[in-house]
Every structure is written in structure tokens, then in C-alpha cells.
Symmetry: C2
Subunit: 220 residues, 2 copies
DNA sequence: TCATTATAAATGTATAGACAAAATAGATCG
DNA sequence: CGATCTATTTTGTCTATACATTTATAATGA
């Protein structure tokens, strides 16, 4: 971290470090292994341990709770449901996003900050994976928060892009069509079962995401 | 992962797992510690090990090499420099982005796919932190790639947002002003020294980012 | 009843020793 | 000269043991 070793440089062997720091090899090994999973060094048997070339290939993206983030700025957060419908899967092309398993719950809603809408959300939930959702009260709490606290999930994929608001979306957000928006699409699984698909559209000037890489990031 | 244990459930103690799987406690401990740093379980002394409630608070964001990503789609990638200037820091307000240390190198450039520009990049590099950059050949290779392979860095922060292309940016990208673009701003440090600031603007329909959370993500 | 103290249960971390696995470097042979 | 085999170095992983640290729970006392 101090920069004494450049990427590609070889570190002392475990045996040498063991001597240097006067501790057992297991201890050195655990430390180096930790550096390895943190991506700071590469280790190859027989060859040794090398400073990894920094790769920007992965960073830790903070996906903040929307409500908490808004409140942190001193604003008032509110979620307002727009549409809620239960229907069998496979009716529309969109359902390929969640794909064919029993009943499908569609929930649209708006995210407000200080009473002004800054994000619109389209969500599909598989009733097969989340049976409790049908009777849940989703008028005040956002389905995102509800799912987070009620449904264990094991895998998620988020796609981030920039799009122009369609006329429909723009109307809901109270802006002109074509307004640049940050589009967050997220698919969530529990095991191999799909749980939910959500597409969130945030006004470009009202929302951003932050990702970090560095000490303290990977080690939490 | 199989869902047999719900969030909040308590796992067997290390001693019990040791019996169950017939191995040493150190082995059990290493396994549980790994699950802990992966964020799948929480461990409290005296209390035990518990299935963590899934938090969407952090995901792993793939920041792909732009060139590689374009080529993966079967397209031809090219970087073309636009502006390159060396000047003392502190001249413009922008320099607060990298802040006052000696000479500052500004490099603007375009990212092309199959000859068509899809991204424009504005970059500041601290010559104090990267003295070699002044003499580097940056006509064919993008400064991003050059820096990656020549400068070890320890920390980076990326901000992602959606913005409308300014008339200047739109001209360079060959689109209409106001076109929605994905804006990626990244600050990079080595220790406490700032290395570079970059602001990249990608055409919304030509670029997106993907973040994942799940088995195999944190463990690489 | 409440605050304080003591006990014990669980994780956290270190050690020394052993063997496995991989891959480089060298030796051998055609 | 090249291919193949061998030896050795280095990391990967497990084991058994020991002691430290934290903290939930039980015991104690005013």
C-alpha cells in the first residue's frame, strides 16, 4: 500500500516473512491469503506471491436504501403505490423478465422526496416464490423494503444505464419526455428460483450511485 | 444457500460442526470466517453464528475494460485523443477535482466502436503523482489503460449518474444536445495522494454497467 | 426489585507440525 | 537440439493445542 513494491514485484516467501516477523507460517499464510482474496496480491505455487496489477474490474457498489439516502439529505421520503395487479404469468412480453412460474404480481410506484417525485418503479414479483406478498400491506412501505426484510435471497444482478424518460414515465415524474434518467434494473434469485424483477428510473439530477475500491472496502 | 435456514437463524456452534463433519475446529472456523467476510453470516462471541439478513447495501460492480467490452461484441475499438495540455494546477475551478499539487495534465479523448464515437472522456492527471506520464505516448492507447498498467493505486471512487449531453459533448459524440448519457466519474488515489480524475460520458444506448451479488461474487 | 459481580460458553487468534499439490528448474536421454 | 522425466521449492490446507476476548446468563447482594 505504501508503494514500495510495484505491481508485478515478488514478495518474500512465507518462510522469509516468518523469519522477518517472528511468527508461524500459518499466520503469514492467513495474512497473505487475505491479501489474495482482497485482490492485492496474486499467489502461484512454486513461483511465489506477487503484487497484483490493480484491476478496475470489480469495485464495491453501494446500493443504498433509497429512503435512507433521501432522509440523509434532510429531505422527507415517501413511497406512493400506483398500480397493483395480480395475474397469471406469460401474458405480456415483459414477463420474460421474470419468466413463467404461476402467479405474477405487478406493482408500480413512485419515490418522493419532499413531496416531489424523483423516481418511478416498475416491479414484478413471483407469487410462487413469495406467497406472503399477496396479502402484504404495501401502501406505505415500498415493495423493495418489504421484500428485503421478508424474503431471503441469494443472488442479484443489477444493470445500470442511462435512458430517456418515455412520455408515460415523464408524466409520472412530472418532467418533459426525453429527460435523462438513471435506469436501474435488478433481478433477484433465491437459489435457482426467480424472486423479483424491478426497473427503477431516477431523475438524472436527483440520484446517483457510488462505488468504491480500496482498503476497508473488501474487508468491510 | 439452500434456504433451509432463514435469516436470523442460528447455526450450530463450531464444536458441533466439528463433530458433524469430523474435522478440526480451525477448519470449521476458517469456513465460518469466510462466510462471515462474504457477508452470509454474522458471528457474535458467546452468542453464536447467525444467518445474515440479506442486505442490498453492497454489490460487486464489474468495471470492464472498455476496449475489451467493445471487442467482445465483435466491434472494433479505437481511442482517439482530442486535447492534451500541461498546466500548473489551480487555474480553473475544475482543478478542485484533483486539487492543488504541482503540474496537471489534461487529456480529452473519444472512445470509438467500429469507427463511431460512443464515449467522450475528460481526464486530469497529477504529474506529481505520475511523472512518467509527461513523456508517455498516449496517441493510440487510452490514458486509462496506460495508467492501469503503469501506476499502482490503492483507492478509487466511482460515481455513476445520468446526465444530458451538453452541446459541446454532443458535438463530439455526434448526437443532439440533451441526449441521455451515462456519466462515470472516477477519482483515484495512491495512499493519500490523488492520482487522476476522469469523467466519462457514454451514450445511453451504447453502454451499461452490471453489478452482481451472490455465490462466487465475493469469493471471486 | 435492581444493580453488580462472577461464571461459562462461544468466537478470535496464534502456534507448530504434517502432508498435498503445483510448477519451476534442472537432469537425463534420444 | 528437443522432449521427457525428476527433484525441489513454494503455496494450499488440515490438525491438535493453547490461550485471549467478549458477552449472555446466572448468581449475588443491597
Amino acid at each position: 500500500m505504501a508503494g514500495h513494491l510495484a505491481p508485478g514485484d515478488r514478495l518474500p516467501t512465507e518462510a522469509e516473512l516468518m523469519q522477518t516477523y517472528g511468527c508461524a507460517r500459518m499466520t503469514v499464510n492467513k495474512a497473505l491469503s487475505a491479501l489474495s482474496v482482497a485482490g492485492l496480491v496474486d499467489r502461484r505455487k512454486r513461483a511465489g506471491t506477487f503484487v497484483a496489477r490493480p484491476k478496475l474490474h470489480s469495485m464495491v457498489l453501494d446500493v443504498p436504501d433509497i429512503a435512507a439516502q433521501v432522509r440523509e439529505r434532510g429531505q422527507d421520503y415517501a413511497y406512493r403505490p400506483l398500480v397493483r395487479s395480480v395475474r397469471p404469468a406469460g401474458v405480456e412480453a415483459e414477463e420474460t423478465l421474470l419468466a413463467g412460474e404461476g402467479l405474477l404480481l405487478q406493482i408500480d410506484g413512485l419515490h418522493h422526496a419532499d413531496g416531489v417525485a424523483f423516481g418511478v418503479e416498475f416491479r414484478l414479483i413471483s407469487a410462487a416464490a413469495v406467497p406472503q406478498i399477496v396479502d402484504a400491506d404495501l401502501d406505505t412501505v415500498s415493495p423493495g423494503s418489504w421484500l428485503l426484510s421478508h424474503v431471503p435471497w441469494t443472488e442479484a444482478e443489477t444493470r445500470i444505464s442511462a435512458v430517456a424518460a418515455t412520455s408515460n414515465e415523464a408524466r409520472r415524474l412530472g418532467v418533459a419526455a426525453g429527460e435523462p434518467c438513471l435506469c436501474v434494473e435488478r433481478r433477484t434469485w433465491r437459489g435457482s428460483e426467480r424472486v423479483t424483477y424491478v426497473r427503477q428510473l431516477f431523475l438524472g439530477h436527483a440520484y446517483d450511485l457510488v462505488a468504491r475500491f480500496g482498503p476497508g472496502t473488501s474487508t468491510r
